[in-house]
Symmetry: C2
Subunit: 211 residues, 2 copies
């Protein structure tokens, strides 16, 4: 859960804690079912805050759920990006991004369930991993590492594929997720112009443990 | 809207018409917002059928919405497959499947909005386009046209990418959808092992108009 800097006084701290409790409850609901038909009353009870305080923080239920998706996406982006800091090669960055994201299905199940339920609408968003992925794609094109005519279309493939991989792990719980993620990273790198043998090698390099 | 064969007598015809009206209303709701929190009463009113008749056809609201997704997927699969009958090459089939699906955002907006809201859970489903796509992938591997280690992972990429493309058309309404679909088909064919020049050529061949 991302939090803003600690506010200055007791009133502000309590106010921030109430908002955070509502966002946390909304994240849990999104992860459990993606079904947002629950009442504001029920959300407030789950967050253990008074019903009346809801409207001090959010204009509507949709507003709260949007904030919850944003919050989860920011945490997702930070978790993955924090593990990519040593990498320079755009191909390694794309591969590690896919594989680390897949690994988060185990280490950060709530975030990944939220992505599975709400992620499609975020593929071209300015938040989450999309801006990083687009930056890596464009760097790879500039350096000649990637051959991509339409970065926005490539981003649609990367983001959609990642969601497809999360869904695969859910539809076929017996599948080896790490191996599936390596296969996917290899396929995507080859698609982006990396020779197949090199793509296979990069997709199987040791990664930092995100857990 | 898919329908079963015309039933034999007036009672059965009326019964089928009631079910179909409920499914049609559920499809509209799924396409409009994907928000299924609406009451059964409101769905029955929208379908112009009595509230009491709902439970003659469906056990629950979730049951109805599942039937609506199935109905839309079946129509989607038939619409695309009906245009692919002359094609034999798995590469042409995959390319045409992507491009025709993208074209359906205009010609069949309701189905494609349902896919955008509910399609991720259907990527590995036994309905819709997934079984066809998996069959084409496996044929391509057998004939040596494609190089794919894990067909289920490749299917995750194809299905996820298609959803990403639908979302791209929605997030960036100014984009040229046909051109984006051609770019995507080219990238995916290259990923599957088709040389890039040939992939580019196949992805730009004339297609039957699905409208």
């Amino acid at each position: 859960m991302t939090t803003s800097a600690p506010p200055g006084n007791r009133f502000e701290r309590r106010r921030a804690a109430t908002r955070q409790a509502l966002v946390r409850a909304a994240r849990q609901i999104l992860a459990e079912s993606g079904d947002t038909s629950v009442s504001i009353q029920a959300i407030a009870e789950r967050a253990d805050v008074g019903f009346g305080s809801f409207y001090n923080h959010f204009e509507s239920k949709a507003d709260l759920f949007d904030a919850a998706v944003t919050d989860a996406l920011a945490e997702y982006g930070e978790a993955v990006d924090g593990h990519l800091s040593g990498l320079e090669d755009p191909a390694e960055l794309v591969s590690a991004g896919v594989r680390l994201s897949a690994g988060m299905a185990e280490s950060h199940p709530e975030i990944m369930e939220i992505l599975r339920h709400r992620g499609l609408g975020q593929i071209h968003s300015a938040r989450g991993l999309a801006p990083w992925a687009l930056r890596d794609l464009e760097r790879g094109v500039t350096s000649g590492r990637f051959v991509v005519d339409a970065p926005a279309v490539a981003l649609s493939v990367l983001g959609g594929s990642l969601l497809g991989l999360l869904q695969l792990g859910c539809s076929r719980p017996d599948i080896d997720r790490d191996e599936a993620a390596q296969n996917m990273a290899e396929m995507l790198l080859h698609m982006l112009g990396v020779p197949r043998d090199e793509a296979r090698d990069i997709a199987r390099r040791p990664l930092p443990d995100i857990r």
